[in-house]
């Protein structure tokens, strides 16, 4: 066969993109469907005429106005933000300290700790939500958002610690030794040498702590009933579904708005996120 190399490359690329397109359609369709539904009028959503895949009549902002001003959406947003933010700070403090100790200071039991961290990292919310119901109840935190401050770290801390143990292990020890030789104290070494070098891993862990908290659905669904205290995920789910009438426009708009913060975060810090995801799982 006499096909020039350039031509062959072109054929290969076309073929690859043809294979990629079905995946892209599959992956992006729900997002697209949310987007167009949220701008359709109720009449159009309910209508059985025409093509549902596009907005046919004049797009409307009515659903967004309704979400933002007639529901407690902004309160849920604030709740999610406050809880995810506080959990992230708490997680990073606990995880950095623990990961440093496990990967650097060889003390009795440090090896068992890393195994323990790994096992708890694999504990899913579905396993422990019933005893947590009792624990949260006994602490008098049922139906308040503050119970999540206690529960989310059980998901974020093991994951972030595991990720950071793996990350810290890749940082050469000689770096710290050099700092000590230069007369740095322990604290100086940590703040001025170790943490800056570990920054990519710490950024990834921070992102994971935030997104994991933002995503959670089971815990807030099980323990929080009043709309004032709800998280975004459960607020959109419980409060916008009323009886048999589905407010699809509001529901899709709300779901889209609830997804945007983490997707934007991801768009900006994608490389850290991906490196963390693959490292966190493999090693």
């Amino acid at each position: 066969m006499i096909i020039s190399l350039a031509k062959r490359k072109k054929i290969k690329m076309t073929l690859l993109y043809c294979l990629l397109i079905p995946f892209l359609v599959f992956f992006m369709f729900p997002l697209y469907w949310m987007f167009i539904t949220s701008f359709k009028t109720n009449v159009e959503i309910a209508s059985l005429k025409g093509i549902p895949l596009i907005i046919q009549s004049k797009p409307t902002l009515a659903h967004y106005k309704m979400i933002l001003f007639k529901t407690r959406f902004l309160i849920w947003f604030k709740n999610s933000f406050v809880i995810a933010g506080l959990v992230t700070v708490l997680t990073m403090v606990i995880s950095i300290l623990a990961a440093y100790a496990i990967s650097r200071l060889k003390f009795f039991g440090s090896r068992y700790f890393s195994v323990g961290v790994f096992y708890t990292y694999l504990v899913p919310p579905a396993l422990l939500f019933i005893p947590f119901y009792k624990v949260v109840g006994e602490l008098g935190l049922l139906n308040t958002k503050w119970c999540l401050l206690l529960l989310y770290p059980t998901l974020t801390v093991p994951f972030c610690t595991w990720l950071l143990i793996g990350y810290f292990a890749t940082i050469p020890r000689s770096l710290e030794d050099a700092a000590f030789v230069d007369g740095a104290t322990y604290t100086q070494m940590l703040w001025k040498v170790f943490l800056p070098v570990a920054a990519p891993g710490i950024i990834a862990a921070t992102m994971f702590a935030f997104t994991l908290s933002w995503h959670q659905f089971l815990y807030p669904l099980a323990y929080i009933y009043s709309e004032e205290e709800m998280m975004l995920t459960t607020g959109v789910y419980s409060a916008l579904i009323r009886g048999d009438v589905y407010f699809w426009g509001e529901l899709m708009g709300g779901a889209l708005l609830a997804s945007i913060p983490v997707v934007v975060l991801f768009a900006f810090l994608m490389d850290y996120y991906i490196a963390g995801l693959t490292k966190g799982a493999i090693k």
């Binding site: 539904t37 300290l97 396993l127 030794d177 659905f217 789910y237 899709m252």
Partner: protein, 303 residues
């Protein structure tokens, strides 16, 4: 190992503070918050859940293994166990297959495009699952939705996506494949990058074509990563909650309930915490066995 750092560490005067700061004791202080968390909020609740599962509905008396016995006699429970395994096996299989296919496609794209499309393909994984499930719920709507509209345009009959056992199972599994495939893709893509180019060159010199390269170079080099990724996914898929809770709430007639959603249904919605606790504990053996194998695989990699 006697590194310079550790010898210098021991040099400061032996005041209590310096002792706490350096060496062994510092390690214990630094790990204390984690330790408290793991004991207080993971180990204790776990033991507590076993304790609860031995109580009666009102949580006033111990009934021993009564809740477990009741479950084992209960055909709905076995239906749910079957659902969980079916859901997990089918979903993990397709996620792994589509994941490797997608990773291979992306890996062959030029670097610029690859970076961009990799990011786009990861969006289902980055979005909050509960929120994308709401979109899927609306996509599966029988009369107003896009999916049946497309089917009708293509000459098929519309499908009852969420209201018959077969299609409801199909829909929940499809949603999980949508959500989980990106995770496999990203893991495999990282794996593909770590295979040295020289192996492919050697294979090509030996006259191997693309498919043989995949079969005899790519697959063996990725086998461990494939196994680890599938085990990770098995754990998250088996304990999935959001998808079934939002799409079907376990219906029609319990045919899509998974252990997690069933435990929620009985324990939280049905106010029978002990029985719910017993159901959730059935997740444990599968999770523990899988986790054990993951750890063994990872540990082997370190040697």
């Amino acid at each position: 190992m006697n590194t310079i750092g550790s010898t210098i560490n021991r040099r400061p005067p032996h005041t209590l503070l310096s002792r706490l700061r350096s060496g062994r004791l510092a390690g214990y202080w630094m790990i204390l918050p984690l330790f408290v968390l793991l004991i207080g909020l993971v180990a204790y609740p776990f033991v507590y859940s076993i304790y609860i599962s031995f109580e009666n509905k009102a949580e006033t008396n111990f009934v021993g293994l009564e809740n477990y016995k009741r479950l084992l006699d209960y055909s709905t429970f076995w239906l749910v166990v079957g659902n969980s395994f079916r859901f997990t096996f089918i979903a993990v299989f397709f996620k792994a297959t589509l994941g490797i296919l997608l990773a291979l496609i992306l890996n062959n794209l030029p670097l610029g495009g690859q970076r961009f499309w990799r990011g786009v393909c990861l969006i289902p994984w980055v979005m909050p699952l509960s929120m994308s499930c709401l979109a899927w719920w609306w996509i599966f709507d029988p009369t107003h939705s896009a999916l049946n509209w497309v089917l009708v345009q293509l000459g098929f009959t519309p499908k009852p996506w969420l209201s018959t056992p077969f299609w409801a199972r199909f829909s929940t599994i499809l949603t999980d494949i949508w959500y989980g495939t990106p995770f496999f893709m990203i893991m495999y893509l990282a794996g593909l990058k770590s295979i040295p180019e020289s192996l492919y060159e050697a294979a090509q010199i030996d006259g191997a074509h693309a498919l043989q390269c995949f079969r005899y170079v790519t697959l063996p080099m990725l086998s461990k990563l494939i196994a680890i990724t599938m085990m990770f996914s098995t754990i998250t898929t088996f304990s999935n909650f959001d998808i079934v809770m939002i799409l079907t709430r376990g219906g029609p007639r319990y045919t899509t309930h998974l252990l997690g959603t069933y435990a929620f249904n009985i324990g939280i919605e049905g106010y029978h915490l002990p029985l719910g606790s017993a159901i959730a504990l059935f997740l444990f053996p599968v999770l523990a066995i899988t986790a054990f194998f993951v750890l063994r695989n990872i540990a082997r990699g370190e040697e």
